[in-house]
């Protein structure tokens, strides 16, 4: 190959790398810097007053938040441990249904459980009002805790199931083989091996609860929490510095959770819901493990109750979307969907479009990130790796507010544009996307890349001919995840979306806030159907690729 051609290739290589680093600096570090800075600066001077005021004026909210988060964490961890053990050790139809429902929650929009709660236990709730004849005020911390626990439990059960699955099944078998019964094996083998995972799940739940403003706003009634305050400070009162300080506060437990995760996983753990779910469905449980005994009974009952609750929840949403009350009578209608089409069609189309853009652009971005960090491994790659993981540490609200603060003036005035929303989703997804690529590339990538180099291929050819085509399954997995995220996310983008450019989840949020529960439910069902369709289509494609191999 000629020298000059080689120079050109090198230049392209450097160019891509520099662009990548700049993107990471601008869209990850800059917003985080902006939000932290805002929380310490009043009238251009450094001060701790904002925090002082925060603690003085909002001590009740802080207590509320900690109370709800702690309770939610405990309940959710207990539920998810039981469900995860059940899913991992049982076989048969109930297990399959449970896994499918868990997968369904992964693609469901937030507030779905809150909506179900309102319909069942609210002032006019089906159970409280229609069956029991009560008119209760059930809005308060009880509702928040139950709904946060329920929705966290699915996610947690997923993660924990993944962890149990990684335990060598022969370890469990040998415990049984050595004469231990199921209860003893669960207590002495499975639970201890899950411990780091449980701790991580607990920390994540805690952070998620702290930063959730949607649930308290829909079913909290008069019960207020810190995250709601942050939301209102931005949306209603424009007190950015206070909102920033609240976010920085929530960052502390989040950083602890992250550190623990890093120590425990050494970044090998893949929390990709898709892969875990597929593994779980594919692999039929080993015939030789036959769990029994009182502890197993307990787990079974627990998991069944959870399953029952989930079914009720989805049934409620589905029925709400196709029924209407009139003079105390319920009748079927498609009116909610008609309303959706008429008034909110644009938002759905926008959501889908954004979903495709984040799916494709996010895939490319994370591919190059993974390539430079994992395959090329240069001196500063660890530092770069850390920057890439930052978005997974900070809660959604944090990143949303951070983006407003970072991009509200020149030279990068992005507030109000579609770009800021898409960029936000993309960079928030970057850590998990990159992990998918890393897992894919680090297995065979390094040696295959070496082989390419050995045969005389310049770096950009190795990327173009070998690594990119080789990792198309990872690309699709990321595409599906990003699409799903765009369809269901609220936390970060609620601050970034302008009224004229709403997304589907935000319309759903407004509908619930305005008491249009039927429309909210119809929106939920539609979001689930769209996401499900894309999921199934892409999974088919991935399966086909795998079979061709």
């Amino acid at each position: 190959m000629s020298k000059s051609k080689n120079m050109v290739y090198k230049a392209i290589d450097y160019f891509i790398f520099i662009v990548l680093v700049m993107l990471l600096l601008i869209f990850i570090l800059r917003p985080i810097y902006a939000i932290i800075r805002t929380s310490f600066i009043l009238d251009g001077k450094f001060t701790l007053d904002i925090y002082r005021n925060l603690f003085r004026d909002n001590i009740r909210l802080i207590k509320n938040s900690l109370f709800v988060a702690t309770l939610t964490t405990i309940i959710s961890v207990i539920i998810s441990i039981n469900v995860a053990i059940y899913v991992s050790l049982s076989k048969g139809r109930i297990r399959k249904i449970l896994i499918l429902l868990l997968m369904l929650t992964m693609i469901s929009p937030p507030f779905l459980s809150s909506l179900a709660y309102i319909k069942l236990f609210g002032r006019r709730g089906f159970i409280t009002h229609d069956i029991l004849g009560l008119t209760l005020n059930t809005y308060g911390w009880q509702g928040i805790v139950s709904m946060q626990s329920l929705s966290s439990s699915s996610m947690n059960a997923f993660i924990l199931t993944g962890i149990i699955n990684r335990i060598d099944k022969d370890i469990i078998k040998s415990s049984l083989d050595l004469g231990a019964n199921t209860s003893y094996t669960i207590r002495k083998i499975i639970l201890p091996m899950m411990k780091p995972g449980i701790l991580n799940v607990a920390l994540l739940t805690f952070v998620r609860s702290l930063s959730d403003f949607g649930t308290p706003m829909t079913i909290g009634g008069a019960f207020n929490v810190l995250a709601t305050q942050a939301y209102l400070n931005v949306i209603a009162y424009s007190k950015m510095e206070l909102a920033a300080a609240i976010c920085v506060l929530i960052l502390i437990p989040a950083a602890i959770a992250f550190t623990q995760y890093r120590i425990f996983s050494r970044k090998n753990v893949l929390y990709t819901q898709n892969t875990i779910a597929n593994e779980m469905l594919d692999e039929d449980q080993d015939e030789s493990i036959k769990p029994k005994g009182p502890l197993w009974r307990f787990i079974q009952i627990f998991a069944s109750l959870f399953l029952f609750t989930m079914i009720i929840q989805y049934l409620t949403i589905f029925l709400t979307s196709i029924t209407q009350y009139s003079y105390g009578k319920m009748y079927f209608t498609i009116e909610h969907f008609v309303h959706l089409r008429k008034y909110l069609g644009d938002s759905f189309i926008r959501s889908i479009t954004y979903g495709f853009i984040t799916g494709i652009c996010g895939g490319i971005l994370s591919f190059f990130t993974s390539y430079y960090v994992e395959i090329r491994k240069f001196r500063a790659s660890r530092l770069l790796d850390f920057v890439v993981t930052l978005p997974s540490i900070v809660p959604g609200v944090f990143m949303g507010i951070a983006y407003i603060l970072a991009f509200n003036n020149k030279p990068l005035e992005l507030t109000g544009t579609s770009a800021i929303v898409i960029l936000n989703i993309m960079f928030r997804q970057l850590p998990s996307n990159t992990r998918v690529y890393n897992a894919n590339l680090s297995q065979i990538g390094t040696q295959v890349a070496d082989a390419g180099k050995d045969l005389g291929a310049p770096s950009i050819y190795i990327v173009k001919d070998i690594l990119f085509p080789m990792s198309k399954t990872a690309f699709m997995t990321n595409f599906v995840n990003n699409f799903k995220n765009t369809m269901t996310t609220v936390g970060a983008i609620i601050f970034l979306v302008y009224p004229g450019k709403k997304l589907a989840t935000l319309e759903m949020f407004s509908a619930i806030r305005e008491g249009k529960y039927g429309v909210g439910a119809a929106a939920s069902v539609t979001i689930i159907l769209i996401t499900l369709t894309i999921n199934i289509l892409m999974s088919r494609l991935i399966m086909r690729w795998k079979n061709v191999r």
């Binding site: 190959m1 065979i444 295959v448 070496d450 082989a451 050995d454 045969l455 291929a457 191999r549």
Partner: protein, 323 residues
């Protein structure tokens, strides 16, 4: 000298993987880097291929110093242990991949690729996806892919370690055949001494990053220069001489007879291994391993007293030079 390593040194976090290694081979020879795991043989190979940057020394191929060249510019190509085939490409696409960067047109590349697939006997498989091939076939694709770019030196990193025993023997024959057909220089890493003895023109026995001995298979086997090489290559009976030197005799170099011989001993163990039978014989001073051909005629029994004669006895090692 066609390939020359001069004081090549490579350290990883202060652990010396290759220590002042120097060796030379001629054009068209097969060099085997042989040694236990962790002896630095793969590190040496990767340094020659350019995948590792050495900390000291020089690597020269065909008179050209390639020490600081990136892998894509070096006149070497590698058959990787995992084959590192491009999983999304067909057999032919894999093989001709490197030709693109040598300025071949697509048509010429295909012609040349098919020529090499013919050599490794895979031409009928050219449009298969590489993942549909068996281990031995994948190995051949890797070989063809590395050969087609006509490297000055072909590097093979434990290429046969993923194959089963029978296929391993077959493939090493094929590699030797291909080598003699094309006259290419090869450097072959293995931890399997039998493989090395079989395939190599020159063996470099390595231990803890250092070269223990460089020589033909016969030299290495018959005249080991150190205790390490003696222990590592083949089985042997070490006998301490009165002079203080150590001599050794290979188990197959001992003749066993019921009536005549130099030393008398008792058979304390007998193991049937198919083509030969191994005995352990207790003499007055020693315990000796003896290997007898399984001719189907004469066998000795446990507890029997026998006479032993050493066909050959190698006295090379001074006692103090050992260990």
């Amino acid at each position: 000298m066609f390939v020359k390593l001069e004081n090549v040194t490579k350290t990883f976090n202060e652990v010396v993987a290759v220590d002042q290694l120097s060796l030379e081979i001629n054009k068209g020879q097969i060099l085997c880097l042989l040694g236990p795991s962790g002896c630095g043989k793969t590190t040496t190979l990767k340094s020659i291929g350019g995948f590792l940057r050495i900390d000291g020394g020089r690597i020269i191929i065909d008179g050209e110093d390639i020490t600081n060249m990136p892998p894509e510019m070096r006149p070497t190509s590698t058959v990787f242990q995992s084959y590192a085939l491009f999983p999304h490409m067909t057999v032919l696409q894999n093989v001709i991949y490197g030709l693109k960067f040598k300025g071949y047109s697509r048509k010429e590349a295909i012609k040349k690729g098919e020529e090499y697939l013919e050599i490794v006997g895979l031409l009928p498989y050219r449009n298969r996806n590489v993942q549909q091939l068996s281990g031995g076939q994948q190995q051949r694709v890797a070989l063809a892919r590395a050969l087609v770019v006509t490297p000055k030196v072909l590097l093979l990193d434990e290429p046969l370690s993923n194959l089963d025993a029978k296929l391993r023997v077959k493939m090493r024959e094929e590699i030797k055949d291909i080598q003699s057909k094309l006259g290419i220089t090869m450097i072959f890493v293995t931890h399997d001494q039998e493989e090395a003895l079989h395939i190599a023109d020159v063996i470099a026995v390595m231990n803890e990053g250092k070269l223990e001995q460089l020589g033909t298979p016969r030299e290495i086997y018959c005249n080991p220069k150190s205790k390490f090489v003696l222990d590592f290559i083949g089985n042997s009976n070490v006998i301490e001489e009165n002079s203080g030197a150590i001599s050794f005799v290979r188990p197959e170099e001992i003749i066993m007879d019921r009536h005549e011989g130099n030393i008398c001993g008792k058979i304390v163990k007998k193991t049937f291994s198919g083509p030969y039978i191994s005995y352990v014989v207790q003499t007055d001073n020693n315990i000796l391993n003896v290997q007898a051909q399984n001719t189907g005629n004469e066998e000795f029994e446990m507890g029997e007293y026998v006479y032993l004669t050493f066909k050959e006895r190698h006295i090379h090692l001074k006692k103090h030079s050992s260990v």
